[in-house]
Symmetry: C2
Subunit: 409 residues, 2 copies
């Protein structure tokens, strides 16, 4: 065994995430550790909660980190909200809808799904109709699904859920920071995210926020809250099936009671805090406009090369575009040449889209003009070399046009 120190090859990560972390986030993560109950540590925890309230656009007290990847945040929310036997409605429009279904099933839910073709989204009326038909306790829906690049509008659903007495959970991992997310204004009860997309950090920490309604449901399943001695006992409701993902316990660790739960992943917290701090310094509207601009430039660029784009463009996320692999082109060969010759990674695809599209991201630290132009220039060269018909200079030229028209002064 003679492994060398970590020294990753330089890559420009232009896929659907993870993307290159902002160097400032990595620097924050290289800071030395603190004890769990050091006043400096608990101050960092409280500041992190406040920063993510701004990021999620919420006044929710329970705004914190789950120690794990974005998937850990999803599971913490679902296993803490869902009691075995609860009916849960999952509208599926891509891969991550299937994930919500699976996690809810494992939490013991009776899951009802509705599906639309990948690349499309649901109308609010269709979801309300499904709520009427299935009478769920919880609606669980992905906001932006990177598998298809489209984003389900959530604005109207909070009111629908409130009217029908349904809890409203959404996964904003792919959208947060690059597209509008308004937790309180949209009536979201539980929202979870990750760092590795528009927030410009590494996977491994899941910011999350919970309304007072969601908090009450979660707390009602806690033996501590119910004043019972046996951790298995609760006030008439079933205990949360997980200890690690027991949000009632996690609330009390982050809250003024500071009850010991896990040993906080200090380095991940430093990173998550810095991601939010940078976003708050930039301001959310500016960050979203940055994602819109560079996403528009990438979209124009791939079209300028003569390529087609997949999915409902009216509902495209700002930060990732799905490019139809042209007939006769080996998609993996293009990706391999981009990585091998240019050090640029773009994404492959899953399920019904496997082999049919590439996914190109412009998010977080990589939502920049130089990354867009470099990726388009390299893609043109690779396609040309592999004999695909491309419009020479059309990609970079079209992106340049977007910047000329729209770049803020």
């Amino acid at each position: 065994m003679s492994s060398l120190p970590i020294n990753p090859p330089p890559r420009l990560l232009m896929g659907p995430g993870p993307i290159n972390a902002d160097p400032r986030v990595l620097r924050a993560m290289s800071a030395q550790l603190l004890g769990q109950y050091d006043p400096a540590m608990t101050a960092y925890m409280s500041e992190t909660m406040a920063l993510y309230r701004t990021v999620f656009d919420t006044a929710n007290v329970q705004t914190l980190l789950v120690d794990g990847t974005s998937r850990a945040g999803i599971e913490a929310a679902l296993v803490s909200l869902i009691e075995p036997g609860d009916r849960v409605l999952v509208p599926i429009f891509g891969r991550f809808g299937h994930l919500l279904k699976e996690i809810a099933e494992r939490a013991g839910a009776e899951v009802h799904v509705r599906e639309v073709e990948w690349g499309q989204v649901f109308t609010a009326a269709a979801i309300e109709q499904a709520i009427i038909e299935t009478r769920p306790v919880l609606l669980a829906v992905v906001h932006g699904d990177t598998s298809t690049t489209v984003m389900q509008p959530l604005e109207e659903l909070g009111e629908v859920c409130a009217r029908h007495g349904v809890l409203f959970y959404t996964d904003v991992t792919a959208s947060l920071g690059g597209n509008p997310v308004h937790t309180d204004a949209w009536g979201l009860d539980a929202v979870t995210a990750g760092l590795q997309k528009c927030l410009g950090g590494p996977s491994g920490s899941a910011p999350a926020t919970f309304s007072s309604r969601a908090t009450d449901v979660i707390r009602s399943r806690s033996s501590v809250e119910a004043g019972l001695r046996d951790p298995g006992e609760t006030a008439g409701r079933s205990p949360i099936r997980s200890n690690y993902f027991d949000l009632a316990m996690i609330f009390d660790y982050w809250g003024p009671r500071r009850l010991n739960h896990h040993t906080e992943a200090t380095t991940a917290l430093y990173g998550a805090r810095e991601c939010a701090r940078l976003l708050v310094c930039e301001t959310l509207p500016v960050a979203i406009e940055r994602h819109r601009l560079h996403g528009a430039a990438m979209l124009a660029g791939v079209r300028g090369l003569g390529l087609s784009v997949f999915g409902d463009l009216e509902h495209r996320m700002n930060n990732v575009v799905a490019v139809v692999i042209p007939d006769g082109v080996n998609g993996d060969a293009v990706r391999g040449a981009l990585l091998g010759d240019f050090g640029i990674e773009i994404g492959t695809s899953f399920g019904p889209l496997q082999g049919k599209i590439w996914r190109i991201g412009t998010m977080g630290y990589n939502a920049r003009r130089d990354t867009v132009l470099t990726t388009l220039a390299a893609l043109e060269q690779v396609l040309r070399r592999l004999g695909a018909p491309v419009t020479g200079g059309g990609g970079v030229g079209a992106a340049w046009d977007v910047y000329s028209d729209q770049e803020p002064s």
Copy 2:
């Protein structure tokens, strides 16, 4: 909101963990990210598996990281091994035994416990007797419990478990790297750990290893393995209740199939790999001897100050000592003065030991002579100032004697 960049105050963390991370680990964690399926990334994953085989002293194929804190590793092992209704035996000799019990209960187990007074351990005969009485599917036992500083001998239990057809899980978070752990020689079926103790890293990644027997049990609960279409269906066994902690899926993500599961926490992986790499370079026997030496010096030092030590010293971990708080001394005032005036953190205690002991660690990067001598010197000054009777110079002097006698040339 005007939070400043992360800039933690300098601390010498001499509690039961987390301790100061090795700067080389933090540097590794500041490396830029890679895509999940980049050949460089999958090579790092495979190297990490190989490095932890050496650290765990095992040939187990399934040796990998769970993305979360050490508690995530425990829950992944228990929820993947335990089917609802399974009988599980948990011998409890401290706080973390209670945690294993609680996690096993939430996984649906019928948990049987045996308890000894905190500070003591079990004989192999007592555990065998409990196995005979309770006929468990699984024995789940903590190795070193930092709440009491003692370490349950495991050497003989593997043979006992094998003879009775019982799976054998142990949590070595507190002991690994500073005390002998021999997964294969001791017949351990499932072992989980964390980075924040003797491995010198931050909390947030849980190295784990699973025998072929444990792997078979886990795989038998996987719908993929059983060739079934519905993720809820398995070949006669109940599906694993968690998606995030489904080790069958995690095996396939780390293994040659590279089936997508979570998005690997790349930065945490870089850190976990560096922790193991440094340990393997030092060699396990040398690292364990280092922990033994500095632990012995700290033990001699606190005694040299005239303080008493708690627990069964025959079974003490090398890396943490429990010091009885002298009568009339306010333990928290001492801890506060050490932190406030000297920047040194020592540990408080829990449960029946609350307010009765301090826990002083010498582990990982902080298992060094300068940290031992500095801590003893500061502790003497604080105790003196608070009016406690101490033997002036006796602490540092006694530690110096240990080093003079025993330090390797």
